[in-house]
Amino acid sequence: MHEISLVQAMLQQLSDLAVQNQATKIIKITMEIGQMSGVVVDSFRFGFEVLSGNDDLVRGAELVIITPPVTYRCTQCSHSEITAAKPDCCPQCQEVFLIPEGGDDLILQQVEME
């Protein structure tokens, strides 16, 4: 349940952003959570609901989570396949060793506040 630690890191960033922008209320938060990030989106949402309930700045804010597709590069023919689920093998040459590129990001993309 390291998602709680990550939600705490997000709330800290939101608090800093609010001070910098002289905002008192966060309305909408857009997070990018990669498929390979090791974060369970439901757990992250649960952590957000629990922790934001005790936080005047963030309580009631909308949390939008974006999960971008991952690029898999073939170790044999260097073909790049952009896909939501990991392919069993390279669609070009059937090689099974594919290296994922990206997809492990946890990015606070955008914040709407007032």
Partner: protein, 246 residues
């Protein structure tokens, strides 16, 4: 944060601000791990200034991380100065086992947290440096909290990440817990002396791990019987030599 060494805690904020009238939308594009990663970078620089190479050990509880360290210290302790940071939710037990081997060790108890992070490691390394011999370390092991999920997300500032799976756990761990394997440099299959009693096809397990991460270095051995252990010891000797040369 750090009053023991005077090293500065980095300010990681690199926000692009768009000013609008209220309410306003701010594009941030900052990783949630930015604060952890900045501190991890600082840790790595600190380890390098000490002349130490740092290894983060990740596995489920009971895979043999502490036993691996006990036997590694026995075999290499005469030639290489080893230090250990132990991470556990509770108790000093692992540190007691390492201390009995005569090397500097510090126990971090997370009090419930399921992983170590860069800040805890930072604290740990400063405490370790105050131990006798703790300021002269060639090889620093950081034994993470036993958990194959959460520790994989947090960079501690290590140079190499090692993931362990023991034979009784079964060969499906790479497929079930991919992040630990995609983020690691070395994969150790431990307790191979138990292979006659378990259905653990070593080649299939290795292939699954390599399927996830073709760059993984894979070794299989038994720390207690010593079969296959020399490959691991030689890897560590070469790693320390490589760092010393730099």
């Amino acid at each position: 944060m750090c009053d023991s060494c005077g090293c500065h805690v980095p300010t990681e904020h690199d926000h692009n601000h768009h000013s609008h009238s209220s309410p306003k939308t701010v594009d941030v594009h900052t990783s949630l791990l930015a604060a952890n990663d900045a501190l991890a970078k600082l840790n790595r620089e600190h380890f390098e200034a000490m002349g130490a190479v740092a290894i983060n050990l990740i596995s489920s509880p009971g895979s043999g991380k502490t036993t691996l360290l006990e036997h590694t210290i026995e075999k290499l302790g005469g030639d290489i100065k080893i230090g250990v940071i132990e991470g556990d939710i509770e108790t000093e037990r692992d540190a007691d086992r390492i201390r009995a081997k005569g090397v500097p060790v510090i126990q971090l108890t997370t009090g419930g947290a399921c992983h170590l992070d860069a800040a805890m490691t930072h604290k740990g390394v400063h405490l370790l440096e105050k131990q006798p011999g703790g300021d002269k370390i060639d090889l620093l092991f950081i034994e993470n909290v036993g958990n194959l999920v959460c520790p994989a997300t947090f960079d501690l500032g290590e140079h190499k990440r090692v993931v362990l799976v023991s034979v009784p756990e079964g060969p499906d761990k790479p497929a079930k817990y991919p992040k630990a394997f995609t983020s690691s440099d070395i994969f150790l299959i431990t307790k191979t002396d138990l292979l006659p009693y378990f259905d653990f096809p070593v080649p299939e397990c290795k292939a699954e791990a390599l399927h996830l991460n073709p760059q993984l270095i894979v070794m299989d051995f038994s720390s207690t019987t010593g079969v296959g252990f020399e490959v691991w010891l030689q890897y560590l000797r070469d790693l320390v030599k490589e760092v010393k040369r730099k």
